[in-house]
């Protein structure tokens, strides 16, 4: 399937929580700026 397994240090709940927060911060800004909305 071509899947890439995350490195062990990213596999803990705490590491994922930090990564998720960073992703939410990054993409909320991008998506809002884009004006993309569900139709």
């Amino acid at each position: 399937m071509g899947l890439e397994i995350p490195p062990p240090e990213q596999q803990t709940p705490a590491a994922f929580a930090a990564y998720l927060k960073a992703e939410l911060d990054k993409w909320s800004a991008v998506v809002r700026e884009s004006g993309i909305k569900a139709q």
Partner: protein, 286 residues
């Protein structure tokens, strides 16, 4: 008198803490004692569904309980995500979704949950990068050429997207934002018809989930310009990254992850996390 009162309060606090701790530990120790439902906020049969199902045997073996998969697509997956947001925080109803369903769609749609507050992050799961693909007779031969071609044909180059929003649309927008280019989005009902139209030459480009279009790229029916990641994708190492190909920073990875409802005890989250990590160590998953 005061000293006796403080001593009494201290004993009471210690006993209360011990009771709470032992109750949580008891829940975790007994967990799971019944089947665990994994809600996938996408239709059955897709890449995410397939990936989760490859993990089922391992999850079942580690947790010692049946794993029930519930596909709940609709509204960009927000229906399924909301089902888990409102579920009891006991570890028996969890969600596995993608960067698209759990991050992008939280902003494209207006879901009745807050992804940052209504879930306990359980585990980051495998990922697949996107890549920029194009019909095989599109003039540019590489990513730099594509960016230049987009600038020359301002807004005239078409980009297929799955739905009006979704990861492919956001990725196309992100390329435009970082390179000063603009494309015209052409929405499709799914990844398969979008890909068919690129193969047929009816649409110019797409920022596609690489796994979706790998076979068409390998067959030479379409071309792939660059992988939206820091390193090359092992399944197609001949395709350069956006950093190598002249579009630095256009990094878009569609990662999967597991979530439990907010308030799920930490010990339960840890057990689920351990089960997913064991499953990821299974060579059959990658």
């Amino acid at each position: 008198m005061k000293r006796a009162l403080f001593a009494g309060l201290a004993v009471f606090s210690a006993v209360s803490l011990a009771v709470l701790t032992s109750a949580t530990a008891a829940l975790a120790q007994g967990y799971p004692s019944k089947p665990v439902t994994v809600v996938i906020p996408l239709a059955a049969g897709g890449a995410v569904d397939t990936m989760v199902r490859t993990m089922l045997d391992s999850l079942r073996a580690t947790l010692g309980q049946p794993i029930l998969v519930e596909n709940m697509g609709g509204a960009g997956g927000t229906t399924g995500v909301n089902r888990v947001a409102k579920a009891a925080p006991d570890g028996y109803t969890i969600s596995v979704g993608t960067w698209g369903t759990h991050v992008v769609n939280a902003f494209v749609y207006s879901p009745p949950y807050d992804l940052g507050k209504d879930f306990e992050p359980v585990a980051l799961l495998p990922s697949v990068p996107h890549w920029f693909i194009a019909r095989k007779n599109l003039p540019p031969t590489d990513m730099k050429g594509l960016v230049a071609y987009m600038k020359e044909n301002d807004g005239k180059v078409t980009a297929a997207s799955v739905g009006a929003g979704g990861s492919s649309a956001v990725c196309a927008y992100y390329l435009g934002k970082l390179t000063g280019t603009k494309t015209t989005l052409v929405p499709y009902r799914g990844g398969a018809p979008a890909l068919q139209d690129i193969v047929a030459g009816n649409v110019d480009t797409m920022c596609d989930l690489a796994a979706n279009s790998l076979s068409q790229v390998k067959a030479g029916n379409i071309k792939a310009y660059a992988v939206t990641a820091k390193k090359r994708w092992f399944a197609a190492p001949e395709v350069p990254t956006v950093y190598e190909a002249g579009a630095p920073g256009v990094e878009v990875t569609n990662w999967l992850a597991a979530y439990a409802p907010q308030g799920t005890p930490k010990d339960v989250v840890d057990k689920l996390n351990a089960a997913f990590r064991t499953a990821m160590a299974d060579p059959a998953v990658a």
